[in-house]
């Protein structure tokens, strides 16, 4: 569904992405793992067209994303730090997004709005929200349009345990529907029962991209955190 072909990106002297090629298909749940500043967020932003790669290209359903912005209608994106116009209320924000995405009522999936109990605070200004509540808004917004692809950047960071659990359940429910889910997270224990594939990045390079079973058999570890720890020790 999403194919990246030798994508490179430099920020000045820093090489953020170094010749990354990857294929992501429907029904996969891919964990994008790597140390800080390994280029995970940059890669995600390239997929979304927010960062322009210096070389290489990305296709979405066999269409180059450079020439067509409509593919983003099929992506739900939850940023690492949700930044929204300060003087809007949550209700304003949701209404604006619904208006801009031109969706019909039936496509709207407001499960998370309900389970996170955002309805009670719809009239609060976004600037007054706490970091965790902002994350909830981001999550609700990412799932709101029932997209075929979900890109979640550190989804559980900043959420309380109850909310993180709700979000995980929602992600696994969407995964079962055959959607492509791309998650970055440092909390590997969160990913154990979700992911099917692992992409491991370091210093802008993609070290490996394989299925969780292969990783398990390669390292002989059952848990994702231990398997990754073993790989990091080897380097």
């Amino acid at each position: 569904m999403i194919i990246a072909t030798s994508v490179s990106k430099r920020f000045g002297r820093l090489t953020a992405l170094d010749n990354i090629s990857a294929t992501c298909s429907n029904g996969e749940c891919i964990a994008l793992i790597g140390p800080n500043a390994s280029g995970k967020t940059t890669f995600i932003k390239c997929l979304l067209g927010m960062v322009m790669p210096d070389s290489g290209f990305i296709t979405f359903n066999e269409k180059n994303i450079l020439h067509d912005c409509q593919y983003r209608a099929q992506i739900g994106y939850m940023p690492q730090m949700g930044r929204y116009p300060d003087n809007m209320t949550i209700a304003n924000l949701f209404d604006m997004m619904k208006d801009l995405r031109k969706t019909t009522k039936t496509d709207i999936d407001d499960d998370l709005v309900k389970t996170f109990q955002l309805e009670k605070i719809l009239n609060k200004r976004i600037s007054t929200l706490s970091g965790g509540t902002r994350q909830k808004v981001s999550a609700a917004l990412a799932f709101l349009f029932n997209p075929a692809v979900l890109i979640l950047d550190e989804p559980t960071g900043g959420l309380d345990p109850a909310a993180a659990e709700i979000l995980k359940e929602k992600i696994s429910a969407e995964k079962k529907k055959g959607k492509l889910v791309l998650i970055t997270s440092h909390i590997l224990s969160d990913l154990d029962d979700l992911v099917t594939h692992i992409m491991y990045m370091q210093e802008g390079r993609l070290l490996f991209h394989k299925s969780f079973e292969n990783l398990r058999s390669d390292t002989g570890e059952e848990k994702l955190s231990k398997a990754i720890a073993r790989i990091m020790q080897k380097k």
Binding site: F11, K45, L48, G49, M50, V51, M52, C69, Q70, Y71, R72, A73, I75, Y77, P79, R83, Y84, P85, D86, N87, M96, M97, D99, L100, R101
Partner: protein, 255 residues
Amino acid sequence: MQKIIKYVMLDILRNKIVMIYTLFLLIVSLSIFNLEDSSGKGLLSLLNIVLIITPLVSIIFSTIYIYNSAEFIELLVSQPIKRKTLWLSIFIGLAGSMSLAFFIGAGIPILLFAFSDAGIAMLITGLLLSIIFVSIALLASVRIRDKAKGIGMAILLWFYFSVIFDGLVLFILFQFNDYPLENFMAVMSALNPIDLARVLILLRMDVAAMMGYTGAVFKDFFGNGGGVIIAGVIFAAWAFLPLIFSLRKFNRKDL
């Protein structure tokens, strides 16, 4: 596109600065026209205010607005919206509200008290200056990532167009006053939209007679129909070139 323009306009209207700017212009222009006994004198007093305040508010407000909407821009770029559409909508929203503010604040009093050639010229050039400086602000803010630097740049640009440029022109005039510089002056005025606006308005006032030989050359150049068309083309270039450059830059910008 209309939807995004709607949200940009709503956002700007929620911001009280534009209201205050409108009111300020309204109070100033009404009081000037009521204080001066003739509308010509009133226009002359209003001229300097229009030529200084309009570009200043236009460029500073737009620059700050762009930096403050970083979140809005980031949010919309990850949606199925073309970057070009987004950027042009922001331009239209900003240019629309700045010109509307100018029209209500200064345009209506001009139409009421000084409905003359000079008054109309001031109204049109004021609207054009509002749009031109929004466009310049867009270019400055898309090129500079840092907010403080960007706003500093906007102030500097305004300072250049309203003060430094005139200083440079005077310097050249005094250095080369042995040579005939009248045609050169006409060309120089095209390099600064504020100067061009000033010349166009002054030529339609009685004081134009006092501008000497240079004034006569200007009148020859800009006074007739062809000159007005040339001036229009120059204004259009000032409005669209920065916009096109900023759009190009924005299309490739990493957010």
